[in-house]
């Protein structure tokens, strides 16, 4: 066991897969010499050399074009888009090329590649560098979408993503990079499409992702002190989605809350709410409630950013009020 930060776990997960399979390569802006602007790829250049850890010009289209071509010709690239906000400048390659290649080649060409990206707010980076865009990715058929919340999950899900023959968008949460936790030694491999119950509870199911998982868990601890026992599920993987774990939990608790950092309209929780109402309607003992950032650009002022992104307080208050009405 070792104490590992989330950012160190990213590098360890990639290194684990580069050690295992020489077809795995890393490309992106500042991923090699600088070790990543968030230091998530530190040490990889020294360990694997400049042929496998490649710095690129500041062009997201070039990064993903190179990664797509590499995947087409037999490599298994991991590409970095520094801030997930920048997917907007290379979305054509993601949506119209990468996501559709297997379909349009009648299965003849698969693209086993991972696009990792720093996602989410709470670091005062302002409206263009703080967005939670996992719901953009989730809306595109042909992509897998994961977002780990712990160092162990970072390693295991990175391994699963690299080993997947489908393109996987891997959303690291920037607000979690500095967090540390115990991580087991040796190889860690997880499974895409599996959620985890982080805290069992009887009174309500709270489904969260990324940074919102720790906030939901803190809110759950505070609610427990007031006699409310909620179950917290870390979704981890939006596509594929572990519907079974979520619906089984709703079956037990009768109430469902989602805690989402993405802006409210068509956030990922809307899809889960829809599935719950469709598949578990007769288990529901009250309305499904979504706790989200409002549908606005993110402010850069500390006080305003803290106000709009779901907080431990707003999560706890919303759940308590709903369960007592």
């Amino acid at each position: 066991m070792a104490q590992l930060s989330y950012r160190e776990a990213v590098a360890r997960g990639i290194a684990q897969e580069m050690d295992r399979d020489e077809r795995v390569v890393l490309v992106g802006e500042d991923v090699a010499g600088a070790g990543g602007v968030f230091k998530t790829t530190a040490g990889l250049l020294d360990r694997f050399g400049p042929r496998r850890v490649v710095d690129t010009p500041i062009s997201e289209q070039a990064i993903l074009g190179a990664a797509m071509g590499a995947a087409m010709t037999g490599l298994r690239p991991v590409a970095e888009i520094m801030f997930s906000d920048f997917f907007a400048v290379c979305w054509d390659i993601v949506v119209n090329q990468i996501a559709k290649t297997r379909y349009m080649t009648n299965g003849q060409v698969s693209l086993p590649l991972v696009i990792k990206s720093g996602n989410g707010g709470s670091l005062r980076f302002g409206a263009q560098h703080s967005q939670s865009v996992e719901n953009w990715a989730m809306a595109v058929p042909g992509l897998k979408v994961v977002s780990p919340s712990t160092p162990t999950d970072v390693i295991g899900l990175m391994a699963a993503a690299v080993r997947s023959d489908d393109p996987v968008l891997f959303f690291e949460h920037k607000g979690l990079y500095a967090g540390r936790a115990e991580v087991a030694d040796g190889e860690i491999v997880d499974t895409l499409g599996t959620a985890k119950i982080r805290r069992p509870g009887r009174d309500a199911t709270v489904v969260a992702l990324g940074l919102m998982v720790s906030r939901a868990l803190q809110a759950a601890d505070e609610l427990a002190g007031r006699g409310i026992d909620v179950e917290v599920i870390d979704v981890r993987s939006l596509v594929p989605l572990d519907v079974t774990t979520i619906l089984d939990s709703v079956h037990r608790t009768g109430r469902l809350f989602t805690v989402e950092e993405n802006p409210r309209l068509l956030g990922w929780g809307a899809e889960i709410a829809s599935i719950a109402v469709d598949e578990a309607f007769w288990d529901l003992d009250g309305p499904v409630q979504r706790i989200t950032t409002p549908h606005i650009p993110l402010p850069s002022a500390d006080s305003l950013e803290d106000l709009v992104i779901p907080s431990v307080e707003s999560i706890g208050q919303t759940i308590e009020k709903a369960l007592q009405s």
């Binding site: 939990s249 529901l284 003992d285 009405s325």
Partner: protein, 256 residues
């Protein structure tokens, strides 16, 4: 005229337990009826039904012969983890489908679910829940509760959807029975039956520490036609259903 609003869960539980919501006082805010209120109102009736069943059907009863054919029966106990109020029938249905997908038996491959249903005329028949292989327990429960969603078993293979599975589920737990050993309807090779859970002291582990909890145990049985299924295959299916049921309950109770 005032109308009390009840949640879908409360309405479902009231229907399942025969509780009249109009006469029920709720313990929730502003008198709202909670699921626990329905279960509390239902408890006396359920108790007497299961006591009567325990008295009337001794465990390991001699199986009744089906359609004049020789049948064989076997029973096992399934440990369901800590007790809760979930119906065991839908869980057993998913467990049976999973077991059959892994090891198909006599045309039953786990894609479609066959269930024994008692009709309004009191006659028992076999009904089909088609394409049930990817449903979770909640979805199975919902579809079983909708009589229009169940197809009559095709008399022969002319329905076009392929043969009806030869292995069916009998949810004796829904009737509050400890265990029913059902007759084997004509055309079926086996019926898997699940009984109402009984509560027992159980050792569970919480963060690695052993603790006493109230556990639930259901009896799972199989009645089969030895001319169509070898006893060893029937017993293997029974063990597989038990294992799937225990896994389903433990993974849905707590998932790391």
């Amino acid at each position: 005229m005032t109308r009390q609003q009840h949640s879908p869960r409360v309405r479902r539980l009231a229907g399942e337990h025969g509780v009249d919501l109009a006469g029920l006082r709720g313990s929730g805010p502003a008198g709202r009826v909670r699921p626990a209120d329905v279960l509390a109102a239902a408890q006396p009736a359920t108790r007497s039904a299961s006591t009567a069943a325990t008295a009337a059907v001794p465990a390991a009863a001699v199986p009744a012969a089906g359609s004049g054919r020789a049948v064989a029966a076997a029973l096992v106990e399934a440990q369901l983890g800590t007790a809760d109020d979930r119906p065991v029938g839908p869980l057993a249905a998913v467990a049976l489908l999973r077991a059959l997908r892994r090891t198909p038996l006599a045309d039953a491959d786990g894609r479609h679910l066959a269930v024994l249903v008692d009709g309004a005329d009191g006659r028992r028949g076999v009904r089909m829940l088609s394409d049930a292989g990817d449903l979770n327990p909640a979805a199975v429960a919902r579809r079983l509760a909708d009589p229009d969603g169940l197809a009559e078993e095709p008399a022969d293979n002319t329905a076009g959807d392929g043969p009806a599975p030869a292995v069916a589920l009998c949810d004796s737990a829904a009737a509050g029975l400890l265990h029913e050993v059902p007759q084997l309807p004509a055309g079926l090779a086996a019926v898997v039956s699940v009984g109402a859970p009984v509560e027992r002291p159980t050792v569970v582990r919480h963060d690695g520490q052993p603790m006493l909890a109230i556990g639930a145990v259901s009896t799972v049985g199989i009645v089969h036609d030895p001319a169509r299924i070898a006893p060893a295959a029937a017993h293997a299916l029974l063990s597989a259903v038990r294992a799937e049921l225990e896994t389903l309950r433990s993974t849905t109770n707590r998932n790391g």
